[in-house]
Symmetry: C2
Subunit: 129 residues, 2 copies
């Protein structure tokens, strides 16, 4: 059996993907892949997602240079979620978020308010130009 057939794709043919920094364990981002994206990710050892907003393959870093090197690909017990161990390339420390932050998960719930608690490492206007 093709290893891609082992994945339980959702009704849109997608699977959710968590990117975790290999060195630190930080969860950097969450995105989606279709079959072709996962196949290309495994082949390139660089993250290729499916952009739901743009409805096309999205080789992470194609504009920003912030490529994700993929060390390991895992699947969960229901075969419907992927976890990748990555190294975030292109900036030190790594910038995974389009806001210029290390991780996309920068809003923290404090009481009944969300607070941005991670610094912007690089101005997005500098990243995407």
């Amino acid at each position: 059996m093709d290893w891609l057939d082992h994945v339980r794709w959702d009704r849109d043919g997608l699977v959710p993907v968590i990117a975790q920094e290999a060195a630190t364990g930080d969860v950097l981002m969450f995105a989606w892949m279709n079959r072709e994206a996962l196949a290309r990710t495994a082949e390139l050892r660089e993250a290729v997602y499916w952009s739901r907003s743009r409805q096309r393959l999205w080789h992470k870093g194609e504009e920003s240079g912030h490529v994700q090197q993929v060390h390991e690909i895992r699947l969960d017990c229901d075969q419907d979620v992927v976890l990748m161990k990555v190294t975030q390339r292109g900036h030190e420390p790594g910038i995974a978020c389009h806001t210029g932050r290390h991780s996309c998960f920068f809003e923290r719930l404090d009481g009944d308010r969300w607070q941005a608690v991670e610094p912007v490492l690089k101005d997005p206007a500098e990243i995407y130009r």
Copy 2:
């Protein structure tokens, strides 16, 4: 504004949730919450998910005793994914997966094959009885 209105719920009124072990950084599991589940999680400081298969609230550990204590709740840059820092209670080391494993992400892609690479810490027949 109610902090729950800041979350961008999907077409089913759900948000994906990643549970990460606070002490180790291990990604333990992935599940979904609706508005009520997230409200109850924040209130109880224990993970309450929405079970899509059972179509009801699911207080994690209600059968297994493997409750997840919630230390921190984060939201991503699109406000449509939640990341929680948790301590997995009820067994040492923690068991988050219904298969009796520490983490649900126990299948690793090796070449073109998925391999189960994490041990079963407790027989599920012992957990759910």
